[in-house]
Symmetry: C2
Subunit: 540 residues, 2 copies
Amino acid sequence: MKQFINAKETLVTEAIDGLIRTSGGRLARLDGYPHIKVVLRTDWDKSRVALVSGGGSGHEPSHAGFVGQGMLTAAVCGEVFASPSVDAVLAGILAVTGKAGCLLIVKNYTGDRLNFGLAAERARAFGLKVSMVIVDDDIALPHLPQARGVAGTLFVHKIAGAMAEAGADLDAVTGAAQKVIAGAVSIGMSLDTCTVPGSPKEDRISDGKAELGLGIHGEAGVQQVDFTGARAAMAMVVDKLLPHVSGADNVALLNNLGGATPLEMSVLAEELARSPLGPHLKWIIGPAALMTSLDMQGFSVSLLPVTPTEVTALAAPVAPSAWPGLQGLVAIPIKPLPDGLAPIRALASAHPGRRALIERCCAALIAAERDLNALDAKSGDGDTGSTLATAARALVKALDALPLADITQAYRAIGNELSQTMGGSSGVLLAIFFAAAGDASASGKSWIAALQAGLQRVMQVGGAEPGHRTMIDALAPALAALSGGIDAAARAARSGADATAKMTKAKAGRASYLSEDKLSGHNDPGAEGVARLFEHLVTA
Amino acid sequence: MKQFINAKETLVTEAIDGLIRTSGGRLARLDGYPHIKVVLRTDWDKSRVALVSGGGSGHEPSHAGFVGQGMLTAAVCGEVFASPSVDAVLAGILAVTGKAGCLLIVKNYTGDRLNFGLAAERARAFGLKVSMVIVDDDIALPHLPQARGVAGTLFVHKIAGAMAEAGADLDAVTGAAQKVIAGAVSIGMSLDTCTVPGSPKEDRISDGKAELGLGIHGEAGVQQVDFTGARAAMAMVVDKLLPHVSGADNVALLNNLGGATPLEMSVLAEELARSPLGPHLKWIIGPAALMTSLDMQGFSVSLLPVTPTEVTALAAPVAPSAWPGLQGLVAIPIKPLPDGLAPIRALASAHPGRRALIERCCAALIAAERDLNALDAKSGDGDTGSTLATAARALVKALDALPLADITQAYRAIGNELSQTMGGSSGVLLAIFFAAAGDASASGKSWIAALQAGLQRVMQVGGAEPGHRTMIDALAPALAALSGGIDAAARAARSGADATAKMTKAKAGRASYLSEDKLSGHNDPGAEGVARLFEHLVTA
């Protein structure tokens, strides 16, 4: 399995260094690599209760990512899925603990309990006040007396963190942590196992199956269940949580186990809100990656009944950017669509001269249909002629309804017509051309200057310039010459269109994906269409 | 491919609803589902320049996740990897644009350019001031005149967002956006393709390979390269970026393309800092998922030369929690290890009575080695006897160095000895037992009360209680009876140890993983060891 690491042996220390480097100076580490991996706040003066957590790595951002003002004082990191040593924990405690004492927040795994426990004893031998709480929020194995500690640990980090930051004493912080632990429950579901660096991936969960009640170290779920979509998945998780709903006000924590996409997590958030648990939830934390299991494509939901004091603590701002904040779980505010989505239709009005001009242009494009299709077939799908001719026929039919007497409104109306009858990029670009010409005309520009403004906008939006082998290669010189009369414009358009036969490196549009030999020696069909149109106006 | 979605057709609308629900009331949407998917700020009064961005979905948190104070005013979301319609964009513009006007921030893809472009024209026909910038930061295809817009788009969102929030006018905001676009460059690398919902996954990148210069819609990379680890991967990306370094002060944006783990991203951050680009980087945004490509296991680095004004804009606080903030890229502060990691060794002192007692205890355990091993072999790996005997032999050897005359120091010293000579959980638990006994003794407790305090701590840390089929089943009754004399303690220990033979559901320790028939009918070897010890003290 490929991963962006250098070596299993240096993975954790390099990742910690990367975290510290990108923390803007908020974080430091102890000089104990590779054995002692302790991340610390740099703004810590030991005047308040220190919070130390940690455990095996592979659960990032837990725990080092939550070191900072308002959350942890230090994190003691083991190798992936392995408890840190007693010495490492002791180093962490000694580095941050002052007279106010230290609370150790430990997930309920034997190695962590023992190593943090012995380190606590050693620290006490120095006369330090050290208390320890053990988080056991997992409800996957209801009959196990030693429930595992999973994402509910974040509730403890945050609430104890806010209290310690505010200056509460060790007994108060410890008591608050114990209350949270007594109330927090969690359970997760995954579609795949995690990839442990340096180990082959276990292929345990077959197609159509998911694991409910998995662990965060690759431990198999309590049961394999049929996977039929996000709704049913969340329903199974909610089913396990519902019996634990106790308080009136509850916070949910929606945790990404590592490999679920933001889209999936948002769908799951919606399903959680719609579920029978939804009405019991007043606030939500996430969805976010908080307690991951490497790259596991799964999620967990943690639930905590809360007092107003705890809500305040959960909502308090913190330094670590990995903390997503507490949000009210709200109904979706839906605002009405704005007026104006239907194009404004000006009243029809007559202008025989303009009508005749438009009819002649349309006739030119209809007459060129077969030739332009043939030209397009040499480098494309052979439909440029039909696309233009179809739009021209529709425009002729619409002439009675157009506001021809008002040039500004006429331009805009032609743009609307083309955007509705002519598909694809060309239709949008011509709609933009005429809409922008209408705007320019409204601001007082002459009809020629208005068309030139339309061209400028098409070039800006479409990104094509003269020389890119598009219709612009004929249209730009034609409009530039138009003030000299239609003959001059037609000559310029023809010259421009013919020049496209030598442009073998198309730089915009579909032809930019084609090789030189497919383009050489024949005109771009769009540019040829423009030339035919102007030439037709001369002869008509 | 399994994903936590319900159906491809409802994926984007459900995900948007999930995002809005978990935004605490900050976000709303227009009533245009399923065709018009527009996410808006609820705190918007149209008094300042509106920023509208969007495009195909699948890049979350871009763009809806960045709607909020200080960043976008609205996001117009298409289906996965598909541009939103002209109507959808127009609805977004009309919903948020007041007299101050609106800036459209569009990534450089034909569909987005055209649809946002035509919507802008339509909005202008209503007399609204609308400008549009096109982000083209990708440098993977240096000869393509139409570079793609990728993660550098976030620089534009953030800097334009801060300016608009501060009340700058449309020209100033547009100009600032254009300057950022002119300076931003990005390139990415991936180890795997992305999984498009409803489509089979393309298996394009073989083992040992990576793609450099990929697109964010599953477009193949410009080249497949050998993948040899994070360092070489970052070196290739840096190599492409270095020629673009221009200013003195640069910001890097390290983007997770979706499926890289936080550990991998932190390793990549460290490699970026150590690379030849590192010295040019004063600030960093991320590592974070900012412009993803569904679940792609890849990353991108974007680079922007910045003025002090732009730094202020990038650092300004914003409402969206998906924005990770701007951080200084710093050297790693390394703090010295605290004193006290080496256990305090009290001076050796003699106490013949205690020495004799310890020697007798050790002799008891050494004598029981074979029996306890045999007992352990029935439910475990048969080494309990050897573990205890080895520790006992080591303790006897260490007696000359122990501070036996001071009971407090003697307890602590025995704990230290055991933690060093006895491996595994038992060693740590016994070390905790004696360390806690030492603490209790230091606080004035009698030697028996001190041992009972040690037991209490072992039960708290280890999580085992009487009845869990551990050595505690013999130790707890023995210590409770000890004040009545060693005979009473021995009887209590024996009774407790024998009771473990009927405990067929172990609730702690390794035996908790075993079935009943493996446990029934024989004593727990730890409890038996304790009983043998006390019995030996009676007879010795």
